[in-house]
């Protein structure tokens, strides 16, 4: 589903941070082009 795709990862500090999402995506063959973690409070 993600293979060959360019992915923007947006994580959340009190939920799942972006590096953790990117780590999960690493094995799918996608390219993470932007990774950001936001704080909503």
């Amino acid at each position: 589903m993600f293979a060959g795709k360019k992915i923007i990862v947006i994580g959340e500090r009190d939920g799942v941070a972006s590096p953790a999402i990117a780590a999960c995506l690493a094995a799918t063959g996608c390219e993470v082009v932007l990774m950001a973690t936001e704080c909503f409070v």
Binding site: R13, D14, G15, A20, T37, V41
Partner: protein, 474 residues
């Protein structure tokens, strides 16, 4: 090594709906579309509603967060809610503007004669009037309308015109622009209010405080050293702590927890006998999520500045002990997942002293009031943190999966703090924690806070720290 204890804690809210327009988000939206100002004005709530708001009563200690009753809170008045509570007060805006003017030593704030007089009269009747000398408000009288025509920003607008203004401290230095000084003076005034309450409520001599650590969010400084100043000593001066020096600890929202750990370490090392930790309110965060409230036909609930003060001192045989042998810290290598952060802040320090997650009675974490965050789509932050903690307890086979809800209810609590960042990050629970560990039934309470360092773009890391407060066995 002396055993450091939490001698006292206090909390104060300044209800300041008129300052919402100076909040970062409202100011940006008003600049884009001036009609937003009228929509904000039409959805402000009055002082009585703010006083009767259950989360605000929890903030000043009148009710425990677990006893606030069912949501929604914003459309009902809590029975018996008063302006003054066991841990501090909810101050109305007229008085707070006077306090800001008293915090301003450079005569940048000008108040209309009517506003100065009504503020001074109210502050004269205030239980803390000795701390703040409201008579000095005479020197803040001016013509705010004229000041604004010369470039000052309006600080208080009534139906009859501009009643308060704040001028820039320097015309070229962006660090001393009027809106920056408004943030810093609001922080100083609210911080001093919390510290004065702490001293008065606990019958402490201001001159007995050796050091004041500021842990507020505001950056005080000038163009050669942005953020280089400190509010700790400025607040110490305003609260009459004449023997104190002071400095600030910065760590985004997490700052109060490392500040308390540093304060406890200074006491344990014998450097100082009494160290106060103070966090003043964050003006930029007023109205941060106002659009969510407007969208959901709610009053704008982010209308109050929150401030907390704590006093750390040598063992008195009664006050809760700060366990310096079990400090949790998020290390560079810890990892950024929620689980990795919780491991660093909770599991690791508990392991150090042979305790388990279930050994802690209460966990104070990000205690933002969900009624402020959910309407804007930011969810229930405390609940997310407590469910992660419960999941870790399941993983460690301390509770069954079916007990997650019970764990969250027993060891957690509903969020009750305004979205004031550092104040909501466990700091707001300090006075409740002290009460629970002295007069209540708790034996251990963990305070943990997280800071979003990545927001400053110097690192992708976040940070966090935790400490355990324990009942003093004498």
């Amino acid at each position: 090594m002396a055993k450091p204890v939490l001698i006292a804690a206090a909390a104060a809210l300044a209800h300041a709906p008129g300052l919402i327009a100076l909040g970062s988000k409202p100011a940006r939206e008003i600049a884009r579309d001036p009609s937003v100002a009228a929509r904000i004005h039409a959805n402000l709530r009055g002082f009585d509603a703010a006083v009767g708001y259950a989360p605000n009563q929890a903030f000043i200690g009148s009710v425990h967060p677990r006893a606030m009753g069912p949501r929604p809170h914003f459309n009902r008045i809590l029975d018996g809610g008063q302006r003054f509570g066991p841990d501090g007060e909810i101050m109305p805006e007229t008085e707070f503007l006077g306090l800001m003017a008293l915090a301003d030593q450079f005569k940048l704030i000008r108040l209309s004669p009517q506003l100065a007089q009504s503020s001074a009269e109210a502050l004269m009747r205030h239980p803390l009037h000795d701390f703040f000398d409201p008579g000095k408000l005479r020197s803040a009288i001016g013509d705010p309308q004229v000041e604004v025509s010369r470039g000052a920003i309006p600080l208080h607008v009534t139906d009859t015109g501009i009643a308060g203004s704040l001028a820039a401290g320097h015309h070229e230095d962006t660090n001393l622009m009027a809106h920056v000084l408004a943030e810093n003076l609001a922080c100083k005034a609210s911080g001093a209010l919390a510290l004065a309450h702490l001293l008065k409520l606990h019958d402490l001599d201001p001159a007995s405080i050796d050091y004041v650590i500021g842990c507020s969010e505001e950056a005080v400084g000038d163009r050669y050293q942005r953020g280089g100043g400190n509010l700790g000593k400025a607040i110490a001066e305003m609260a009459g702590c004449v023997e104190a020096s002071g400095a600030d600890v910065k760590n985004f929202c997490a700052a109060p927890v490392p500040a308390i750990v540093i304060a406890a370490s200074l006491v344990a090392a014998g450097v100082f006998r009494r160290v106060a930790v103070v966090g003043g309110g964050s003006l930029p965060k007023l109205g941060m999520k106002f659009e969510g409230h407007l969208k959901n036909s709610m009053p704008i609930l982010e209308d109050s500045l929150g401030a907390v003060a704590a006093l750390i001192g040598e063992d008195d045989g009664r006050s809760p002990v700060i366990r310096l042998d079990a400090i949790g810290r998020h290390r560079v290598k810890s990892g950024s997942s929620a689980e990795a952060i919780m491991d660093a802040l909770v599991t690791a320090p508990l392991d150090q002293i042979g305790l388990k997650i279930t050994s802690i009675d209460d966990y104070a974490t990000e205690l933002h009031n969900p009624e402020l965050t959910e309407p804007q789509g930011s969810g229930n932050v405390p609940e997310r943190n407590y469910r992660m903690l419960a999941a870790m307890a399941v993983r460690q086979k301390l509770i069954a999966r079916e007990e997650i809800g019970r764990f969250v209810a027993d060891h957690g609590m509903p969020g009750f703090a305004p979205t004031q960042g550092h104040v909501a990050s466990a700091f707001c629970y300090l006075a409740h924690a002290r009460r629970g560990l002295t007069d209540g039934g708790a034996d251990r309470i963990m305070m943990m806070a997280k800071g979003s360092l990545f927001l400053g773009m110097m690192t992708g890391q976040s940070d966090g720290m935790s400490f355990i407060l324990e009942r003093n066995r004498g």
